[in-house]
């Protein structure tokens, strides 16, 4: 019984981190109407950034947030501005241009393999790590401290993005563009600027996820692919474009992965996740918590 509770808590914590990795995916889809296949690679870039920041300066892993998040925002902003935007301009009249999806796939391949070329295939873990293996004991329950911080940062990040979208001028512009690009541009909003900002925010949240992952996860060139596929499943489960849905979808996946092995071989949980995904897609494609519209 105690294991069951421990697994459940662990599942919720890890799941919220999955949700955090998928948060950017849902933000970018909500505005650009494009699945960003490079999202896992952006997470990977963030993880390398955090890893090197810790390895070179010996900072506390969480302090690298001040460095990684702005760098990732700028990276995402200009990635969209320079690489993706020209394709959008070329296909102005298509609501969900396939060519843009394909370009993000190209970005994925380039980033992953460039990293492989430069840093090699080795698994890296940070050496100066005050959080390694730290456990919190509450009434006999062992809870991983870095995962607990991951949970906290997922909640804070989701809330912050939500408030930003609801309360600020830029947030309103983003929501307007998401609802109707043409009407928004008639109101004097530059949709391409909004795309850049939305992509930057999505990438920055991937940076937050990267920083919370680095203290307890290996860093390697294809680490993004694991989270990429999970991210797709999470955002469809939660409803494409829904911020709360991304976190809840992540928690569902986390729970299946950590409680599932109590009842079956661990590798089967992965098959269950795909099965659930297809089921939701076929029965309720708007997602479990999805809104009918994208936002």
């Amino acid at each position: 019984m105690i294991y069951m509770i421990e697994d459940t808590i662990n599942g919720i914590l890890m799941g919220s981190i999955y949700g955090l990795t998928a948060l950017g995916l849902t933000i970018i889809f909500g505005v650009l109407k494009v699945i960003n296949f490079a999202h896992g690679s952006l997470l990977m870039v963030g993880m390398y950034a955090a890893y090197w920041a810790v390895a070179l300066t010996g900072l506390h892993p969480y302090l690298t947030l001040v460095l990684v998040v702005p760098v990732m925002f700028v990276f995402g902003y200009y990635l969209q501005d320079i690489v993706i935007q020209p394709i959008f301009r070329a296909e102005k009249n298509v609501r969900e241009p396939i060519t843009v999806i394909i370009v993000t796939t190209g970005v994925w391949y380039i980033l992953d393999n460039l990293t492989l070329l430069v840093f090699g295939p080795h698994y890296r873990t940070i050496q100066v790590n005050p959080l390694r293996g730290r456990m919190l004991e509450i009434g006999g329950l062992m809870i991983s401290v870095p995962k607990l911080w991951g949970f906290v940062s997922a909640m804070v990040a989701a809330a912050a993005v939500y408030v930003f979208l609801q309360r600020t001028r830029m947030g309103r512009a983003i929501r307007a563009t998401s609802l109707d690009r043409d009407a928004a541009s008639l109101m004097g909003i530059n949709p391409y600027k909004v795309y850049n900002v939305a992509f930057g925010i999505g990438t920055a949240t991937a940076g937050i996820a990267a920083v919370t992952l680095v203290p307890f996860y290996n860093v390697f060139p294809t680490v993004g692919v694991l989270f990429d596929i999970k991210g797709f499943i999470i955002v469809v489960l939660g409803g494409l474009g829904s911020i709360g849905g991304a976190i809840l979808g992540g928690i569902i996946i986390g729970l299946i992965e950590s409680v599932g092995p109590q009842f079956m071989t661990a590798t089967w949980t992965e098959a269950i996740v795909y099965g659930l995904f297809l089921l939701v897609l076929f029965v309720k494609p708007a997602g479990l918590f999805g809104v009918k519209y994208d936002w």
Binding site: F29, K33, V34, I35, V83, P86, I87, A90, E91, E96, I98, T99, I101, I102, V103, T105, G106, V107, W108, Y109, I110, D112, N113, L114, L116, L117, P121, V225, I229, F232, I233, V236, L240, T265, T267, W268, E270, A271, Y274, G275, F277, L278, L281, F282, P285
Partner: protein, 337 residues
């Protein structure tokens, strides 16, 4: 000479060259590379039926390759059924699965279909990796299935040399190209194109867009599974990680998009341009620069999408037309003289 006649002569010359190539290329390595090139051209042409004409983005075609390969291999290894028959069974199975995926997702926005195909293919890989025996069939989980090269011969679809494989895949490729050509000039082809470009307008014309897409999907998955059987018989070893892999699915899509989706020549052209890049960069840079060919793919993909969204076949077709016109005028001048 009329342009049609020039076209026909070019086609005959091309076929003759393809048929005669094994007489010139004697090295087994190069023949192997050529067979794989045709294999990819075939897969991409099948992909093009859905990804090109129907205007959606399937990213899990490796699942159908896997279904074809596993069905025929299991039937021939464990029940002594000829792979030719197993090929058809695998194809029908794949067509059923294709319809099952398409049925709910073709009504949704494009992104859902792409994600569903990925999820299905990855889910299938995980299942195959975890199942050793499924009822009366041995699947052998992550270890895969090996085909002992015992009885070579046409009925067993197994040959000692590479040449018979070369001609088998060449015939398959020619067949699927001819089929694509016929479809593109049929009512189904026009309906697919219309539904892919402007679904609302097509529906207003009375085209059942979802149904035409389903037909294309069934056809595409059927044909893709046939190539799976070919691959199993060619390499005599299949295992889930290599055959039901996302890399294969994405490579097919990349070749189609760079070559030019929605055109007949595009997939073949894409395979002709990209396969050598990946083969030779793997041979020469495999140790020193791992993943080099994937970086090249990515860069080429982004550049092509930027400057030639219809693929590389467009400028090349234009060039070819120009040459044909030149020849035509020159011929007319000669005749007048």
């Amino acid at each position: 000479m009329k342009p049609e006649k020039i076209n026909r002569i070019a086609l005959v010359l091309l076929s003759a060259a393809a048929l005669g190539l094994p007489l010139v290329v004697r090295s087994a390595t190069y023949l192997h590379i050529l067979v794989l090139l045709y294999f990819y051209a075939y897969l991409t042409t099948c992909w093009n039926l859905v990804g090109g004409f129907a205007g959606v983005l399937p990213l899990g075609h490796a699942a159908f390759v896997g279904i074809g390969a596993y069905t025929s291999t299991i039937l021939s290894l464990q029940y002594g059924v000829s792979p030719w028959l197993g090929m058809i069974v695998g194809g029908l199975l794949a067509a059923g699965v294709g319809i099952l995926i398409g049925l709910p997702t073709f009504k949704l926005r494009g992104a859902y279909f792409a994600l569903a195909t990925i999820a299905f293919s990855e889910g299938l890989r995980v299942m195959v990796e975890n199942i050793d025996r499924l009822g009366p069939f041995t699947i052998n989980g992550p270890r895969g299935l090996q085909i002992p090269p015992l009885d070579t011969g046409l009925t067993n679809f197994m040959f000692a040399g590479k040449e018979p494989y070369y001609y088998s895949i060449l015939v398959m490729l020619a067949g699927v190209l001819f089929l694509t050509y016929r479809i593109s000039r049929s009512k189904l082809g026009y309906a697919l194109n219309a539904g892919g470009e402007e679904p609302e307008a097509a529906m207003a014309l009375g085209i059942d867009v979802a149904r035409t897409k389903l037909i294309a999907m069934a056809l595409s998955s059927f044909l893709t599974a046939l190539a799976g059987t070919f691959y199993a018989q060619f390499t005599l070893y299949i295992h889930p990680k290599s055959i039901i892999s996302l890399d294969l699915s994405f490579e097919i899509a990349f070749i189609a998009l760079i070559g030019g989706r929605g055109s007949i020549a595009g997939p073949v052209l894409g395979a002709l341009l990209l396969r050598p890049v990946s083969d030779f960069s793997r041979i020469y840079f495999g140790d020193t620069l791992p993943g080099m060919h994937l970086i090249i793919f990515g860069v080429v993909l982004i550049l092509v999408m930027n400057f030639q969204p219809r693929g590389l076949q467009e400028p090349l077709t234009r060039l070819y037309q120009k040459v044909v016109n030149r020849l035509f005028h020159w011929g007319a001048l000669e005749a007048a003289r």
